[in-house]
Amino acid sequence: MNPPLLDVRGLTLRYETDAGLVTATSRVSFQVNRSDRYVLLGPSGCGKSTLLKAVGGYLAPAEGQILLKGAPIRKPGPDRMMVFQEFDQLLPWCTVTQNVTFALTASGRLKAAEAEERARHYIAKVGLARFADRFPHTLSGGMKQRVAIARGMAMEPDILLMDEPYAALDALTRRSMQDELLQLWEEIRFTVLFVTHSIPEAIKLGTRILLLTPHPGRVKAEHRSDGTDPAGPDGELLSERIHRELFSDAREEEAGHV
C-alpha cells in the first residue's frame, strides 16, 4: 500500500489564552490517503478546528508530527488550501475572478494569463460564471463560499482543508452546497479534510469519519461511510452509533465526576 498523503502522528496541540495554556488535542493520530473525503467530527471543544489549523501550518505541534507526503509541515503554504467558515475570507477589493487569480499569482503558481484561464474554468465549475466580475459584497453567503471553494480547487493543492464551510448557511443552501461538493469530487477526485460538528453532514460527505471527544480532543473511533446511513449488524444506524459514541460516554463520564 502507498504511504498516506497526510500522516498525523501522536499530535498534541496547545495554545495560549488569557486563562492560560489550553490543550486542544491530545495524542491524535490519523492518516489521510489520496482522494479521501476525510471528516473530523466532534462537538465544540474537541479541537477539530485547531487540528485543521495545525495541518494548515498556522500552529506548531507541542508534541508529535504532521507529515505531508513524508515531509513535516512547518508553515502555511498553497499546497494546503483552506476554506474557512467566515464569509469575509474573500478579498473584498477583488472581483470573483480576481480573488482566484490573486491566489494563483501571489503564491507563484501561475502567470497572469494562465491564472485567468484557470480561474474562469473553476468559477464555471461552481456555477458562478455569470458572477465572475462581481465584487464579493454583492454576493450571497452561499455564493461567497462557492468562490472560496473555487479558489481552493483552482490552486490544485495536495489537500483541501475545509473548516465548517457550510455552518453559517441556511439549511437549504447547505444541502445544495453539499451535493455540489460531492459532484465536484466525482469529477476531480481531490483530497479533502473536512471539519464539521454535524453528524448527518459527516455521513453524507465523508468517506472516512474520525470521531473526536472534547477537553482535550482525543480520537474516539474511525468509521467508513458511503454517504448513506447504514444499519450495523445489531440494527443500529451509523448516525445513532456515532451519536452514542460521542455523547453517551461523555455523559457517563460527567456523571462519574459528580
Binding site: G56, M81, E86, L91, P92, F102, A106, P136
Partner: protein, 282 residues
C-alpha cells in the same frame, strides 16, 4: 353633485398634478439642485444686505468680492499665492504621511512601538498643531521649515492613529488567507493588510488633509512672508492691512473653494472608486 361631475373631476386634477409631482421628484432626488438653490439664496441675501449696509470697508458686496477675485486671478497674483500655499502644503502633507507610515509600521511590528504610538497620539492629538508655531519659529526661523514642521504635526498623528486602527481591525481570517498563499513579511503587508485596512487609511488621509489645510492657512495668517512670497493666508492678512476688504473676502472664498474641491472631488472620487465599490465603507 352629478355622477358625471365626480367622474370628470379626477381627470383634470391628475393631468395638472403630473407636472408638480414630477418636479417634486426631481427636487427630492437631487441634493445638488437643492444645495445650488441654497447657495443662490445666500448670494442674494449677501448682495442685498451689503448694498443696504453700504459700508464696503466692513462688508463688501458680492459683486465687489467677485470683481476682486477676478482681478487678482487675472493679474496672476492670486495664482502665485495659491501655488505657494499648495506647494508648502504638499511638502508637509507628504512628509507627515511618510512619517505616519513609519510610525504605524513600528507600532504594528512591536509592542513597544504600539505603546509609543498610543502615548504620542494621546499627547499630540488634543494639541492644535498651530500652538506649536511660536516654538517652531524659534527653532526653524521665519521660513518654510517652520510651516512644514507645524504641518507635519497636524498630519502625522490623526493619520497614524486611524491607519493603526485600520491594521488592527483586519480580520484574522484575511491574514490567514494571505499566509495560505505563502505571503509573509512586507508582501503580506502590501498585498493583504494595506488594501484590507484601506478604508481606515483613507479616512486618515482625509482627516490629515483637513487638519493640514486649516493649520496652514492659520499659520500663514500669523506669518507668511518668506523669500518674498507668501501664501493664501498672507494674501488675506496683507489685504486686510491695506483695507482691500473685497480682496480679503476673495481670499476667504478661494480657501473655501480649494477646500471643497479637494474634500468633495478628489477624496470623494477616490472613495467611490475604491471602498464604496468594494463595499468596505469604514
Amino acid at each position: 353633485m352629478s355622477d358625471s361631475g365626480t367622474v370628470r373631476l379626477p381627470l383634470p386634477a391628475a393631468r395638472t398634478g403630473a407636472a408638480p409631482a414630477q418636479r417634486r421628484r426631481v427636487w427630492r432626488n437631487s441634493p445638488l439642485l437643492r444645495k445650488a438653490c441654497i447657495l443662490l439664496v445666500l448670494a442674494c441675501v449677501w448682495q442685498i444686505y451689503a448694498v443696504q449696509l453700504d459700508k464696503p470697508l466692513l462688508f463688501p458686496t458680492l459683486t465687489d468680492t467677485l470683481q476682486a477675485l477676478w482681478s487678482s486671478l487675472a493679474s496672476g497674483a492670486l495664482f502665485t499665492r495659491i501655488g505657494f500655499t499648495l506647494r508648502t502644503l504638499l511638502m508637509g502633507y507628504a512628509a507627515g504621511i511618510l512619517l505616519a507610515g513609519v510610525v504605524t509600521a513600528l507600532a504594528v511590528g512591536s509592542r513597544l512601538g504600539n505603546d509609543l504610538l498610543e502615548t504620542f497620539t494621546a499627547m499630540f492629538n488634543p494639541l492644535p498643531a498651530i500652538a506649536l508655531l511660536p516654538l517652531s519659529l524659534l527653532w526653524f526661523g521665519l521660513g518654510n521649515g517652520s510651516l512644514i514642521f507645524v504641518l507635519v504635526h497636524s498630519v502625522l498623528w490623526p493619520t497614524a492613529l486611524s491607519t493603526h486602527a485600520g491594521f488592527r481591525a483586519v480580520s484574522p481570517t484575511l491574514r490567514m488567507v494571505g499566509r495560505n498563499y505563502g505571503l509573509t513579511g512586507l508582501r503580506l503587508v502590501l498585498r493583504i493588510l494595506v488594501p484590507a485596512a484601506f478604508p481606515s487609511i483613507l479616512t486618515g488621509l482625509k482627516n490629515g488633509w483637513a487638519f493640514a489645510w486649516r493649520t496652514l492657512i492659520a499659520a500663514e495668517l500669523v506669518f507668511g512672508v518668506s523669500s518674498g512670497a507668501g501664501g493664501l493666508g498672507w494674501f488675506i492678512y496683507e489685504n486686510k492691512n491695506q483695507l482691500e476688504i473685497p480682496s480679503v473676502f476673495a481670499g476667504l472664498l478661494t480657501v473655501i473653494l480649494i477646500g471643497l474641491f479637494v474634500e468633495n472631488l478628489i477624496f470623494r472620487t477616490i472613495e467611490r472608486r475604491t471602498v464604496r465599490r468594494w463595499g468596505m465603507q469604514a
